[in-house]
């Protein structure tokens, strides 16, 4: 028997003293589990993408869709679509675990609540980015906006802004998971808290969709997005124990 195999067998035969998987491995496991179960049914993903297209169509009745002025608030419209469609995914993140007491099982596992939170955030992040990748070209197509002119910077703004939405959404999904009127409370709590991030993302996206590179004066919004992401991720990781376990 080779040494490596012997060591492997030794580890299997001694489960009690086996080292706990690292935080990254735990986060990865949770994210993988969530994504796998979502891709098997595609319930939330299909619903959100369809919903984002519906909102995009509704916008065309709110203003003249062929107007040149559309450029000036394109970023705002786009992020409204992202945040409305995204919350369909985010809201379900923890409540789907209440069936069959899955949440209790997850909390009873030897994994910290922060790993659970980060794993779920990561899965939601991937799903939200998928919604955005679909709805951005549709938006450009419907409203005649050439969105790919500043693609690298736009991608950076999308990545940063989406993480902000994801963190707030996932955290409040956990916070409201046991409430009677969860569906009513969530939008009331989540959207006001997303405002600073949305303001920054909307301002930057409007500039970038216009085909103009970001100037030094707009860099402050990038910094603000980064600060928002860092501060609220940290807060969430620290407070998730209080929310889920007490």
């Amino acid at each position: 028997m080779k040494t490596t195999e012997a060591v492997a067998e030794l580890e299997i035969s001694r489960p009690v003293s086996a080292p706990a998987p690292s935080l990254i491995a735990q986060v990865w496991t949770i994210a993988g589990k969530d994504l796998r179960s979502e891709f098997r049914t595609k319930e939330a993903l299909n619903a959100s993408i369809a919903f984002s297209v519906v909102i995009l169509v509704l916008f065309s009745f709110a203003f003249d869709p062929t107007s040149d002025q559309l450029q000036e608030f394109s970023g705002g419209l786009l992020w409204l679509v992202f945040s409305f469609a995204g919350t369909l995914v985010l809201n379900r993140s923890f409540s789907r675990e209440t069936q069959n007491d899955c949440l209790d099982g997850l909390l009873a596992s030897p994994m910290p609540a922060s790993a659970l939170f980060l794993g779920k955030s990561l899965a939601n992040y991937v799903l939200l980015m998928m919604i955005e990748i679909v709805s951005l070209p549709v938006f450009g197509l419907f409203y005649n906006i050439r969105w790919a002119r500043q693609l690298p910077m736009l991608a950076a703004v999308l990545l940063l802004g989406t993480w902000a939405l994801t963190v707030i959404g996932t955290f409040f999904s956990a916070l409201t998971v046991n409430l009677r009127i969860r569906e009513l409370m969530l939008p009331m709590l989540v959207y006001p808290l997303m405002i600073p991030a949305l303001m920054a993302a909307m301002t930057l996206t409007t500039v970038l969709l216009g085909g103009v590179p970001i100037t030094a004066s707009d860099m402050i919004w990038i910094k603000m997005l980064v600060a928002f992401d860092v501060v609220f991720t940290t807060l969430s990781v620290f407070l998730i124990d209080t929310v889920l376990l007490g």
């Binding site: 009127i181 009331m188 006001p192 600073p196 603000m224 807060l235 407070l239």
Partner: protein, 233 residues
């Protein structure tokens, strides 16, 4: 003892308020550019001060609750936030009336206006959440967390809105912000007196709310005890 303090503070607050109203409405001259509408400042500014301070103190109480796990701190946080919200709304409403007169619109989407509104919306969410949770410890935990998120967020809003090119609010006028010279002391002093009067009333309201919270917790406890003993029969 607590009742006496409530009555005493209420009496002081009311007396101060009556005296202030007399000074503000009958004693002070009209302002040169704003005419008589400027008098709104005596309620607008103290309302904002008490509102924002209250949100801050409410946050502190929430943090103390999370550390000590004593429900009294949660009751205090909730009472203070509720009263602070009322004062913040006074600030918004009086500001809106003033804006209609001076800017010609009820709502100017001015930076500080928007910031205060978002702040209010967040804390309305806080109070709604409290109603949605029945179990006292869970309610205290969740609302403390929302309070922390809300206050951190308010700081971001405050910063973000500063960069939005929409500031048309009058700049600071009070001496402790500007070092003097922007507002005549004759006009400025009643503002502090009125802030004091409103602060007394705010404290009275908080104390009454705390008493209500205490009583409701006691009723809750009695109900549970009764329920448990009835089940035993």
């Amino acid at each position: 003892m607590r009742n006496r303090i409530i009555v005493l503070l209420a009496a002081i607050g009311a007396a101060l308020l009556v005296w202030n109203l007399h000074t503000i409405l009958l004693g002070l001259p009209d302002e040169t550019r704003q005419d008589m509408i400027f008098r709104i400042i005596y309620f607008h500014v103290p309302g904002g001060m008490i509102g924002l301070t209250g949100f801050g103190v409410g946050l502190a109480c929430s943090v103390v609750y999370l550390v000590k796990k004593d429900l009294w701190w949660d009751a205090l946080a909730a009472s203070i936030t509720e009263v602070a919200l009322a004062f913040a709304l006074t600030n918004l409403v009086t500001g809106s009336i003033w804006g209609r007169q001076q800017w010609g619109v009820w709502w100017a989407w001015d930076a500080r206006l928007t910031g205060m509104l978002i702040c209010c919306v967040v804390f309305v969410g806080y109070l709604m959440l409290r109603r949605a949770v029945d179990e006292p410890n869970q309610r205290a935990r969740l609302s403390a967390v929302v309070s922390i998120f809300g206050t951190v967020n308010a700081w971001f809003v405050y910063k973000a809105i500063d960069w939005f090119p929409r500031l048309q609010h009058p700049g600071p006028v009070l001496t402790f912000r500007t070092g003097g010279g922007r507002m005549d002391p004759v006009l400025e002093h009643p503002l502090y007196w009125n802030a004091l009067a409103l602060l007394c009333l705010a404290i009275v309201m908080v104390m009454i709310r705390i008493r209500q919270e205490d009583v409701s917790r006691e009723i809750d406890l009695l109900r549970r005890t009764a329920h448990a003993s009835l089940k035993g029969l």
